[in-house]
C-alpha cells in the first residue's frame, strides 16, 4: 500500500510567518464565509501558519453572539472538525462576532472599541485585515465607514480585502477605485481573484520564467494560437439573483479568465516582487483588445444553456431555473477572440471561452505551436498535428506537451504522443484551496496575487465594447441556446472555423 504522505516532507515547508493579526470579515453570515473563508482559515491554523496572537471577528447585520457564530461555523465545517476536534476546539476560541451594519457609523465606532478589546485579549497588536465579503454595492460605503472611523489610518497595520466583482464596467470600476483609494493607500487594498490563489495558475509563472526552454518560443514566431477555457458542468444553482445581473462575461471572463490571459501573455518581470509582476500584467492587458471592436458580434458568441441531460436525470434550462427571468437574455456561455498588440503577440489569436452546464468541468490554457515548415513524413492520422502545450488548471492539475514521434513499423509515419506532468503523480498531495493562499498573503501584506487598480480597469476596458453592446443593442449579440452538457452553441465553433481551427476538446 502506498503511504499517504511522504514522511520526509512533514514539517519541511518553510512558510512565511503571519504577524499577530485580527481578521475582520464583513458578511460573516454569508455563504462565502462559511463555505470558503473560515475553512481556509481553519486549514491555515492546522498548518500552524496562523500566529498564536490571531483572532477572527465576524461582522454582519444579524444579532448573533460569539457563541452563536462559533456554532454556525462549526456546523458548516462538520466534516473537517470530525478529523481535527482538538484543533477546532482551540481555533474556535479565536472566533468572535460583532453585529455591524456598515452603513451605520455608530456600528463602526462600536466595532472599533470591540477591536481594541480583542487586541487586549488576543495581543493582536492592532494589526487588522478587513475582508469585505458583502454585496458589491456596499464596497464603497464600507471603505468610507472604515476610513471615517480611523480604522485604515495606519497603512502598516491595516488593509482591506475586496471580493469580486470590482465594479460592473470600466466606469464603475474607475469610480470605485477612486473612492477606495481616497480611504486607503493602494498598498492597503487587496482586490481578490481566487483563481490567482490556485497553484496551477501560479505555476504558469514558474513554468515560463524558471525554465530557459519555454521563453524563447513563447511568442508569435512559434505560437499560432492560444485557447483559454474554463468550463463548468453545474448550472446557476442558487446564485440566480446575482447571476442574472452579471452573466458569464462579468462573472468569469473579466476576472478569472483575464487573469489567466495576463499571466500567460505577460512579459518576464525584472524581479519577483508585487509591483514588477503587476506592472507586466497591467501592460499586457492594456495592449489587449477584442479581435473586432467595431463589430464585436464577429468575434464574440454568447450562449445560454437549455434543457438537456438524460431521461432519468433531466436538466433544466437556464430560463426554467428558480429565480431566473423566463425571458432572460443573460449569457451562461461566452466565447471570444482577442489580440494583443505588442511585439510578442502581434497577430496571435487568443480564444477565450467559459460556460455553465458544459460537457466537462475543466480549466486550461492550451498553446498551439506553428506547424513544422515542411512535412517530411506521412502522418498516421492523415495530417500532422501541431505541437501543443496544455496547462491544466483544474481538475487533474498539471501540464502536457504533445509532439510527433515515429509510429512503430517499417514506414516513416508520424503520430502524436503526450508527455505529462501531473501534480498528483509528482507531489502526491492535494494543493491548498485558492483562498488558503490568498488569505495568508493578505494577512502577510503580500499583494503579488491580488489585482491592482490599473489591472482591474484595463480588464474592464477590454470588454467595454461588448458590455456596451449588450446594454444598448442586445439583439446584435444574441444568446444562442445550447443543450445542457454539450460544448456550447454551434456558433462558437463557427467562430474558430472561420480561422480554420477547432476548439480543443479537453
Amino acid at each position: 500500500m502506498i503511504q499517504a504522505t511522504n514522511p520526509l516532507r512533514v514539517g519541511l515547508r518553510q512558510e512565511r510567518v503571519i504577524s499577530p493579526q485580527c481578521l475582520v470579515i464583513f458578511g460573516a453570515s454569508g455563504d462565502l464565509t462559511h463555505r470558503k473563508l473560515v475553512p481556509a482559515l481553519f486549514e491555515l491554523y492546522k498548518q500552524r501558519r496562523l500566529p498564536s496572537e490571531f483572532a477572527l471577528l465576524g461582522c454582519a447585520r444579524r444579532p448573533w453572539t460569539d457563541e452563536e457564530f462559533r456554532n454556525k461555523m462549526s456546523k458548516s465545517l462538520t466534516n473537517e472538525i470530525k478529523q481535527s476536534q482538538k484543533e477546532w476546539h482551540d481555533f474556535s476560541k479565536r472566533l468572535f462576532y460583532e453585529p455591524v451594519n456598515l452603513e451605520h457609523p455608530e456600528d463602526v465606532i462600536k466595532l472599533k472599541s470591540r477591536l481594541e478589546e480583542i487586541d487586549k485579549i488576543k495581543a493582536t497588536h492592532a494589526n487588522r485585515t478587513f475582508y469585505l465579503s458583502v454585496s458589491p454595492k456596499f464596497y464603497a460605503n464600507g471603505c468610507k465607514s472604515l476610513a471615517d472611523a480611523g480604522l485604515l489610518k495606519d497603512p502598516k497595520r491595516s488593509r482591506v480585502v475586496i471580493e469580486k466583482p470590482f465594479g460592473r464596467d470600466y466606469r464603475s470600476a474607475q469610480s470605485l477605485n477612486r473612492i477606495v483609494q481616497n480611504c486607503a493607500l493602494e498598498s492597503q487594498i487587496f482586490r481578490i481573484d481566487h483563481y490567482l490563489g490556485k497553484e496551477t495558475v501560479q505555476n504558469i509563472l514558474v513554468l515560463r520564467f524558471a525554465n530557459a526552454i519555454f521563453e524563447p518560443i513563447w511568442n508569435r514566431n512559434y505560437i499560432s494560437n492560444i485557447q483559454i477555457t474554463s468550463a463548468e458542468t453545474v448550472g446557476v444553482e442558487d446564485r440566480a439573483g446575482y447571476y442574472e445581473s452579471s452573466g458569464a462575461l462579468r462573472d468569469m471572463v473579466q476576472n478569472h479568465l483575464t487573469q489567466m490571459l495576463a499571466i500567460t501573455a505577460m512579459e518576464p518581470p525584472g524581479h519577483f516582487d508585487p509591483e514588477s509582476i503587476r506592472n507586466e500584467k497591467a501592460k499586457v492587458l492594456q495592449a489587449a483588445h477584442l479581435a473586432n471592436e467595431l463589430e464585436p458580434w464577429k468575434c464574440c458568441v454568447r450562449g445560454q444553456y437549455s434543457k438537456g441531460g438524460s431521461k432519468s436525470k433531466p436538466l433544466l434550462g437556464y430560463r426554467e431555473e428558480i429565480g431566473v427571468n423566463p425571458n432572460s437574455t443573460t449569457e451562461t456561455y461566452v466565447a471570444m477572440k482577442l489580440f494583443i498588440n505588442n511585439w510578442r503577440w502581434q497577430g496571435v489569436p487568443f480564444y477565450i471561452r467559459t460556460g455553465k452546464r458544459l460537457a466537462k468541468r475543466t480549466s486550461e490554457v492550451a498553446l498551439t505551436f506553428r506547424e513544422a515548415p515542411v512535412h517530411l513524413f506521412d502522418a498516421a492520422g492523415g495530417t500532422p498535428t501541431s505541437n501543443q502545450l496544455i496547462l491544466r488548471i483544474q481538475p487533474n492539475e498539471g501540464a502536457e506537451f504533445r509532439f510527433e514521434v515515429k509510429s512503430p513499423g517499417s514506414g516513416m509515419r508520424s503520430r502524436p504522443v503526450e508527455m505529462e506532468f501531473s501534480y498528483d503523480e509528482s507531489f502526491g498531495e492535494p494543493s491548498d484551496e485558492g483562498y488558503v493562499r490568498l488569505l495568508a498573503d493578505a494577512m502577510l501584506g503580500d499583494p503579488t496575487l491580488f489585482t491592482r487598480s490599473d489591472e482591474v480597469e484595463a480588464a474592464w476596458r477590454l470588454y467595454t465594447p461588448l458590455l456596451e453592446m449588450i446594454e444598448d443593442s442586445p439583439w446584435q449579440l444574441p444568446t444562442f441556446p445550447y443543450e445542457s452538457r454539450t460544448w456550447g452553441p454551434t456558433q462558437s465553433d463557427e467562430l474558430l472555423a472561420k480561422d480554420h481551427l477547432l476548439w480543443r476538446r479537453p
Binding site: L8, R9, G428
Partner: protein, 435 residues
C-alpha cells in the same frame, strides 16, 4: 548588496546615559514614527581571527566583523603556510592559534556592529546591540550609539527606523557592562541573541546572555562537537527557542531528499531502506549526525547500541519499526579546499531493497559535486534504479542565514531540530565510546 552603515556617526556615550539618550532621540523625531515595531538583536561578535589578521597586518583594517573575501583568502593561505591539514576550515580555531601575536597595526578602525548586512537591515530591526570584545586586554568599556534607518533598496521608502548600540572593550570590561544590556532590550518585542562565535568559548557569558526568554542563534559547527550538541540539546530541553545555523545549512539536503520521495510510487521504498551513508568534509561530525537523526526520526528508526570504527568512518545500525535493520555509516573525508563551515555534508547514499523482490532496488545518491557522486556509485548499486541529484553546498554568509532565521521564526524551536538533536547527541556518544 553591500553592507549598510549607520546614517549618523555613532556617538560615544557613557553606558549609564544610553537609555536616557535613546528616549530623547526618539522623542525628538519630527514624524510620529517611534521606531520599528519588530525585534531586538543582541550579537556576541568577537571576530577574533579578523582582529588578529588586521592586528598582524595580514589584511587591511577596519575590522567589520563580516565574512569578507580577503579574510577567508588570507586564512586559507595560512593553512598552507603553517602546514595545517588541508581540510582545516579557514576560520577554524587552529588557524587563529598558529598565528604569532606580533602586533603590527597599532591603530585600526573597528566597525563591528556598525556595518549592518542588508539582509538584516531589510528586516527593520528595532535595536541592534553588538558586544565587540577586543583581542587585547586592558581596554575599558566604550559604548557607541546611533540612530539607524535601513536604506530602501528599490522603491519602498517606508522603512521604519531603529538604533544601533555597540559595546566595546576587553572581555572583562564587557562583562562588567552587561547590566546595561538588559536595560536596553525592549520588553515588548521579541529579543534574539546571536552567538556569533565558537560555542567552546566562555560558556558563562553565553549563559548570562542567553536568558530563557531570548531566542538564540548558534552555530553547532563551531566548537567541539560534543560541546556543541550538549549546548544545543540542553537549550532545547530547557524550552528555549533555539536556532542553529548548522541545521539551517542542511535545508537543501533535507529538501532534496524529501523531493526524491514526493512521487507516491517511490514512497514505499522508504520502508525498504537498508543502507544510509553520509560523507562529510573534515572531522566535525555534527551536521552529518543531525541529518541522519532527522531521517531516523521521520522514518521512526531507533538507534541500536552497535558501533564500529572502520578506518576513518563510523558504522552503526538503526532498528526500523518492522524490526529490520538499517546500516548507517558516517564518513569524514579530507578535502583540498574545505568550506568555511566545518563538517558540511558532501554526499549521501540511501539504498532501498525490497524484501519481497530482491532484484528491484533504488539507490539514491545526493552529492555536492559529480566526483562525490561517482565515489558513492561504487559498491554494487549498478543493478538498481539509480537516482542522483547534486545538492550545492550552502555557502551563504552567516548574516544572510541569520536574516533568514529572523524572518521565518515562528517563535519556537523547529520541531524537526528538537527531535533530531537528542538522537544526534546519542549517536555522538556512541561514536565517542568507540574512539
Amino acid at each position: 548588496m553591500s553592507p549598510q552603515l549607520t546614517l549618523q556617526t555613532p556617538l560615544q556615550i557613557p553606558p549609564q546615559e544610553i537609555p536616557g539618550y535613546l528616549q530623547k532621540l526618539w522623542a525628538q523625531d519630527q514624524s510620529d514614527n517611534q521606531g520599528a515595531n519588530t525585534f531586538c538583536l543582541l550579537v556576541w561578535h568577537p571576530a577574533w581571527l579578523e582582529q588578529k589578521l588586521v592586528n598582524t597586518g595580514r589584511i587591511n583594517g577596519p575590522v567589520i566583523g563580516l565574512q569578507r573575501s580577503d579574510l577567508v583568502h588570507e586564512a586559507r593561505k595560512i593553512v598552507l603556510e603553517k602546514d595545517l591539514p588541508h581540510s582545516t576550515p579557514p576560520l577554524a580555531k587552529e588557524v587563529f592559534n598558529c598565528l604569532q601575536a606580533n602586533k603590527i597595526s597599532e591603530e585600526y578602525d573597528d566597525f563591528r556592529g556598525q556595518h549592518i548586512d542588508s539582509a538584516i537591515s531589510q528586516l527593520q530591526p528595532r535595536r541592534l546591540i553588538t558586544l565587540a570584545p577586543n583581542l587585547d586586554k586592558g581596554h575599558d568599556l566604550e559604548t557607541l550609539v546611533a540612530a539607524y534607518c535601513p536604506l530602501p533598496e528599490e522603491g519602498g521608502g517606508d522603512s521604519a527606523c531603529g538604533d544601533v548600540i555597540v559595546l566595546k572593550g576587553d572581555t572583562n570590561s564587557l562583562k562588567e557592562g552587561l547590566h546595561i544590556v538588559d536595560e536596553l532590550i525592549p520588553e515588548d518585542l521579541p529579543s534574539w541573541l546571536w552567538w556569533n562565535g565558537s560555542l567552546d568559548e566562555d560558556p558563562d557569558l553565553l549563559s548570562q546572555l542567553a536568558l530563557p526568554t531570548r531566542r538564540i542563534i548558534i552555530d553547532s559547527a563551531l566548537g567541539n562537537p560534543t560541546h556543541c550538541l550538549n549546548v544545543l540539546q540542553e537549550r532545547i530541553k530547557s524550552g528555549q527557542v533555539v536556532n542553529d545555523l548548522n541545521w539551517l545549512r542542511l535545508r537543501s539536503w533535507r529538501e532534496t531528499l524529501a523531493m526524491v520521495f514526493d512521487p507516491p510510487n517511490r514512497r514505499n521504498s522508504l520502508s525498504n531502506i537498508i543502507n544510509l551513508d553520509i560523507d562529510i568534509e573534515g572531522e566535525h561530525l555534527v551536521q552529518g549526525l543531525l541529518l541522519a537523526s532527522w531521517i531516523a526520526d521521520k522514518l521512526e528508526w531507533k538507534l541500536t547500541k552497535e558501533v564500529e570504527k572502520d578506518g576513518q568512518s563510523f558504522k552503526t545500525k538503526f532498528l526500523c519499526s518492522d524490526n529490520s535493520m538499517v546500516n548507517f555509516r558516517l564518513m569524514p573525508l579530507p578535502v583540498g579546499k574545505p568550506s568555511i563551515n566545518p563538517g558540511q555534508i558532501i554526499g549521501l547514499r540511501l539504498i532501498c531493497q525490497s524484501k519481497t523482490n530482491e532484484k528491484s532496488g533504488l539507490c539514491v545518491i545526493l552529492a555536492s559535486e559529480s566526483g562525490e557522486c561517482m565515489r558513492l556509485e561504487a559498491g554494487g548499486v549498478a543493478s538498481m534504479e539509480l537516482l542522483e541529484e547534486v545538492v550545492p553546498l550552502q555557502n551563504n554568509p552567516a548574516e544572510k542565514d541569520v536574516a533568514l532565521l529572523l524572518e521565518s521564526s515562528r517563535g519556537s524551536t523547529s520541531p524537526l531540530l528538537s527531535n533530531a538533536a537528542p538522537m544526534a547527541k546519542e549517536l555522538l556518544n556512541l561514536i565517542e565510546s568507540e574512539k
